[in-house]
Symmetry: C2
Subunit: 252 residues, 2 copies
């Protein structure tokens, strides 16, 4: 089956990009054909994978100028292609004509490509605007990174309501996975948040928590994933497990 996963959370800094970068590489290392799409004008997934956004064409060419998305594929790793954000991606949010079809630009661009990839992951900005709408309409499932704190929990209930509206509009069920990210297990607050997630969203919280660790903050500065930067670290093992959680849908 071809899985298309939007990595979303309108709350900022919860680890969307870090989860995306390490997950796509982890899946590729297992031999899957993976396509990573950087849907954030800040191009941080692109940077995290060691690609210079100012030197390449990207998704803006597809969404704004209707180029074929396959023209924009950059070989990022073995089994992993990347569509960079591209310089003009922020302009998408300003498209006014086209009504509902403005939300379908990415979905339409991907139609030909789905067959070639086992996994397509889309890294999204911290907003609920047109870019995220495009990601959700293009996807079959969403992966929601969450930090173990109160303000993130606030943002999540809002996000779940939004996803409910999408499901109604699409007439389709969107599978939801939540992953705890930057997790500090020894804190009461973190455990409280985790318990609330298991209680309110049964079957959605993936079993592996990604711990807060400086290695994960350092690796993008080298354009490397954790599997390249510190392959024997606890963080690399956690991401390895997370890859399996996603493949097998292992949730609480």
């Amino acid at each position: 089956e071809h899985r298309i996963i939007a990595v979303i959370n309108q709350k900022g800094g919860v680890g969307k990009t870090t989860v995306s970068a390490n997950l796509v590489h982890g899946l590729a290392l297992k031999g899957f054909n993976v396509l990573a799409i950087d849907l954030d004008p800040q191009a941080q997934l692109t940077t995290s994978l060691g690609v210079d956004n100012s030197e390449v064409n990207g998704l803006d060419e597809v969404l704004l100028n209707q180029r074929a998305i396959s023209d924009l594929f950059i070989p990022a790793r073995e089994n992993l292609y990347l569509v960079a954000a591209g310089y003009g991606l922020a302009d998408i949010e300003h498209i006014t004509e086209g009504g509902a079809s403005r939300g379908m630009l990415l979905r339409n661009a991907l139609t030909e490509e789905i067959e070639h990839y086992d996994y397509i992951l889309i890294d999204c900005p911290p907003s609920s605007g047109l870019l995220v709408v495009n990601a959700i309409f293009a996807s079959k499932e969403v992966l929601i990174p969450m930090t173990g704190d109160f303000l993130a929990l606030q943002g999540l209930s809002h996000l779940m309501a939004t996803l409910g509206n999408f499901e109604q509009a699409l007439g389709n069920h969107i599978r939801q996975m939540i992953v705890l990210s930057k997790f500090q297990a020894r804190r009461c607050l973190s455990q409280e948040v985790k318990n609330k997630l298991i209680q309110h969203f049964p079957g959605k919280l993936l079993q592996t928590e990604i711990s807060e660790s400086v290695a994960l903050a350092e690796s993008p500065s080298f354009g490397k994933t954790i599997f390249e930067y510190k392959p024997k670290s606890k963080s690399a093992l956690e991401y390895k497990k997370l890859v399996d959680d996603v493949i097998d849908m292992r949730a609480y």
Copy 2:
């Protein structure tokens, strides 16, 4: 002098809301008249100060329906008034008519009020859209919370370029202050980032770093600032110092 400060960073989760909540209360505790404006549809400043966004009218009424902003003032603490985000604030991003004047809605709404307040602080969402444009055009200075990691540094250079464009458009110098937030002093990466900030942005990095501390993550869950939740904590002392840094413009 009446200071109007936009708390901005399009990078998510760097502490804009936490800095805003604790700074406005800290200034109010010193006897200044303070107005806090929640410009984020996610209404997290509103929540952090213990106000239920779904129970009050807010900034959407001002920006969308042209109500006088003083109608929307909520007494949040002694010497501190809040304008909540309001339910419909996300709709601002979809206004298409009005051209350049769409960026001036907040500035125009504040003209009458500036005289009554020593400090006006505006908490912004992690985006560069119309809401943030409104904040910057309404302000005389910006306060940029920053975490000590690589992806935040990436976002900062982009932000500085954007601010340069604003200054050209306004024909005005916008004072810039940077504050290190969620800082983990013992990490090499954090110190590297701090040194880069001092090197590239002399005179802008405020002297007090706000350390990573669970107390700051817990306090909004009680609708309290750090001064109410844990007034003797290291975090409260740091925020107290940060208040003085802002008042006296103490930077490296």
